[in-house]
């Protein structure tokens, strides 16, 4: 049995070295956010007055859907507000890190043939898998220590030492569950793209279950592993049970991954692949159709996944847009018309926060597809294409246009399912969003998506090595808008990324001058990328 694990330690060291820059950046960003926000939080929500104002907002169904249902005392401390605002959000970021690192370390390495080389040495059959799991444990542990110690040093009102460490350890164990889920998926699927898709699908499901149960009945949130982070309740009634639960789940998932690993062949997945077509379909004839043939599952997955997210948020419109729930006397005091207007205003506000979220998420498939142009190049797949009468211009635009269309459809689909499903759930259809507000939502954030794809195109044309900077920009841009109000960030910070260059929609009208120049900018960025891509050497492996 022990021979299964021989050389695990050495491989873990190697994995940590291989991913050191990625890990470092993730730790810096996550720890910076968590500790930085904690440090400033007493300034933002220090007085009773400030806390009372945010407390009611956090109890509204809209915020519960976004951040989770938390319990706090009647006079919540700054720390209680902090954990309510930050915990679910930070868990999502840390989970994404775990899934990325975990699948890259297992199925990714296997796809590249590295595992085969490693396994030909005196290395246990389970050593690569165990090394990946250990890498995740170590990285999460480091983050837990930084969170625990950093929160303690932040001097925020209302923190307790036990609570600080519960935040750090709880986020680490829950994130680890999803990282190990990724390792299980890496045993089932036979290449990293489908393993990633499978894991994010399950993660999305956990998110949706958390959201619906939080809004309807928080007792059922225990059913979602993501919901466990809420249940820790670090600064109110500290509960260690979720941490125990996630540790047990993590161990079960590891045993599951290991047992599948022992039963399957190297380079094959547990789910068998069927033989395919003998000849190509008449549809498959050029670079664009090739990209579609290879990526359609991923593209359709994004479109459907984000549409489902939109629908789920839409399904709580009736709860969000019902002022009577929070303020039962309102109708008697102000009359029905004022009530309906107030309900409508609530919905518009809720929608505007989600439009930013949808735009940021919808930009991801577009950027990914543009970046594929570079990863396909370094994987050597473009060499056989370029030996054909195929211009760089055609290939470049095949990827960029596919990317643009994917993001566009994802975004419009998400906004449609949010608003139309939302309107359909309302008891009073009059409270719902109008067609005009729907289009305002679309036009108001579309240019931001285009600019991000334009930046991706420029990077691929000139400096493909810095492509992770665009992800960082998108992530930070999203955080500044999404959390901007809650963290009372200065205006300039919210204007940093394209997501903040236009007014919030549909609460405000679309600024068409900004719309035009952002559109012009994205076209210019794409053309700049095209110019660079035609001139530069291709990197072949």
């Amino acid at each position: 049995m022990t021979t299964h694990f021989s050389r695990t330690g050495r491989l873990t060291g190697l994995a940590l070295r291989r991913d050191r820059f990625k890990i470092l950046i993730w730790i810096l960003v996550l720890a910076g956010l968590m500790v930085g926000v904690a440090y400033k939080f007493t300034d933002i929500f220090g007085t009773q007055h400030e806390i009372a104002a945010i407390k009611d907002t956090l109890k509204s169904p809209a915020m519960v859907a976004l951040l989770g249902a938390f319990k706090f005392t009647n006079n919540p401390s700054t720390a209680q507000i902090f954990s309510t605002e930050m915990v679910v959000f930070m868990a999502i970021a840390q989970i994404i890190m775990n899934i990325m690192l975990g699948i890259h370390a297992t199925r990714g390495e296997e796809d590249q043939g590295i595992t085969e080389l490693v396994r030909s040495r005196a290395v246990g059959q389970l050593a690569p898998l165990s090394a990946a799991a250990l890498e995740l444990v170590i990285v999460n542990a480091i983050i837990a220590v930084i969170y625990g110690a950093g929160l303690g040093l932040s001097g925020m009102h209302g923190i307790t030492t036990a609570g600080n460490w519960a935040v750090g350890i709880g986020l680490a164990t829950v994130s680890l569950v999803f990282g190990l889920l990724g390792l299980v998926a890496a045993q089932l699927a036979d290449h990293s793209a489908s393993a990633t898709g499978l894991t994010y699908g399950l993660f999305g499901l956990a998110y949706i279950v958390r959201m619906i149960t939080d809004v309807q009945d928080p007792d059922y949130t225990w059913w979602s592993p993501l919901g466990w982070v809420e249940k820790i309740s670090p600064y109110y009634h500290l509960n260690w049970l979720p941490i125990v639960l996630s540790l047990v789940t993590a161990i079960i998932l590891f045993v599951l991954a290991a047992s599948i690993n022992l039963r399957r062949d190297l380079n094959a997945g547990a789910l068998a692949t069927r033989p395919g077509r003998r000849t190509a379909s008449s549809f498959l004839r050029g670079p664009a159709s090739l990209l579609w043939r290879r990526e359609h599952n991923v593209i359709i997955g994004w479109i459907i996944g984000i549409a489902v997210l939109g629908m789920t948020y839409g399904s709580i419109y009736n709860t969000v847009g019902d002022m009577l729930k929070t303020n039962p006397t309102m109708q008697q005091v102000f009359g029905a018309n004022v009530l309906h207007e107030a309900n409508h205003a609530m919905l518009v506000n809720f929608t505007s926060t989600l439009v930013v979220l949808m735009a940021a998420v919808a930009a991801i498939p577009g950027i990914q597809l543009v970046y594929k142009l570079y990863s396909d190049e370094t994987n050597g797949w473009l060499e056989s294409l370029y030996a054909r009468p195929l211009s760089r211009t055609r290939l470049f635009f095949s990827y960029v246009i596919t990317g643009l269309l994917s993001s566009l459809v994802t975004f419009v689909g998400a906004i449609s399912s949010l608003i139309f499903v939302g309107n359909a759930t309302l008891d009073h259809p009059k409270d719902g969003l109008t067609m005009f507000e729907f289009w305002q939502s679309v036009w108001g954030q579309l240019p931001a998506i285009l600019v991000f794809i334009g930046i991706a195109a420029t990077i691929i044309g000139w400096w493909p090595r810095i492509r992770s900077l665009n992800w960082l920009y998108l992530g930070l841009g999203f955080i500044t808008i999404y959390m901007g109000g809650m963290l009372k960030l200065p205006k300039w910070a919210q204007h940093l990324s394209p997501l903040g260059w236009m007014n919030k929609v549909p609460t405000h009208d679309v600024e068409w001058t900004n719309f035009s120049w952002m559109l012009a900018l994205s076209v210019a960025l794409i053309l700049l990328g095209w110019w660079g891509y035609r001139r530069r050497d291709l990197h072949m492996s």
Partner: protein, 299 residues
């Protein structure tokens, strides 16, 4: 038109930063000939080919295929060109059959009976996903796509490194067939026996510079012939000009030595005076030539 070379390379240079990958590459390939391009790993064979394909841009010098510049007219050139890379990377979730058809369609060619014939000859299962193919099978996919295309210029970059001897033979027959049809072929390889058997002319590259170009017969003049001789009367061979590596054989007056091509007539005359009883001469193989260039001129 007929006399114009299909491929013409003049003083090609390529720098990656400060590293000079190609220092001076000059050679031509004509229609109806198989041109061998040999050199050790890292000498610049693949870099040269990538410049020819317009994947990377030459720092200096120029290269034309069909009289057109390889960088600016790559699309027009590639309509009449077929290429098999040394390391074949295929899209993992497509089948071999799909990839062959796709590559053909990009040259406006269709899957033909010739394609089916090649799939059969090379013994490829086209319904398998490319992810499951071995190195040799990936090479077969690229070779089938290249041979079923009607091109005028074929570039093969170490195409047989993963093939078994049977498939290697299929490859050689297919290339000779192309030659008979008057096509031009550039074959980069370090399987020297293959180059020796198939190529009309050869260029040898070392550290980014072409150090020798010509037919194998011409090149043989540059090196020594090994001679094994038994004489009737004693002769001190070491005294003769142009004779090297003299070794005594098993019998008295049996000698083995190598002789420079230019001294061969004089040496033969001297041997005849001592009555040749048996004589064996071994012309230098390409391998000898190769070793000659890379070991003696290295310092």
């Amino acid at each position: 038109m007929t006399n114009e070379p299909v491929l013409q390379i003049n003083h090609l240079q390529k720098k990656f930063g400060h590293f000079e990958a190609l220092k001076n590459i000059t050679f031509d390939v004509h229609a109806g000939e198989v041109f061998g391009f040999i050199g050790p790993n890292g000498a610049g064979k693949s870099t040269t080919i990538r410049v020819l394909l317009g994947l990377i841009r030459a720092t200096d010098g120029n290269a034309t295929i069909f009289g057109q510049d390889v960088w600016s007219n790559s699309v027009a050139i590639h309509r009449r060109l077929a290429y098999v890379p040394g390391d074949v990377y295929l899209w993992p979730n497509l089948t071999g059959g799909e990839i062959i058809d796709l590559l053909l369609k990009m040259n406006d060619t269709q899957h033909s009976s010739r394609t089916d014939e090649l799939i059969k000859q090379f013994g490829l299962d086209p319904t398998k996903k490319a992810r499951t193919y071995s190195k040799g099978n990936r090479q077969k996919v690229a070779l089938i796509a290249a041979f079923s295309q009607d091109a005028d210029f074929y570039i093969f970059d170490e195409p047989t490194s993963g093939l078994d001897p049977l498939n290697e033979r299929q490859f050689q027959m297919a290339v000779l067939n192309l030659k008979q049809q008057g096509k031009a072929v550039l074959l980069s390889s370090h399987i020297l026996s293959e180059v020796e058997r198939m190529c009309d002319r050869i260029a040898i590259i070392r550290e980014g510079t072409i150090i020798e170009t010509g037919s194998l017969a011409e090149m043989r003049h540059l090196t020594r012939t090994v001679i094994n001789v038994t004489l009737k009367t004693p002769l001190d061979l070491t005294q003769l000009a142009g004779v090297h590596n003299v070794e005594a054989g098993q019998h008295p007056n049996e000698w083995q030595f190598s002789v420079e091509a230019k001294s061969l007539p004089a040496v033969m005359a001297a041997l005849t005076e001592h009555h040749i009883m048996a004589l064996q001469s071994t012309p230098p193989t390409l391998e000898d030539l190769f070793m000659h260039y890379y070991t003696t001129e290295k310092e």
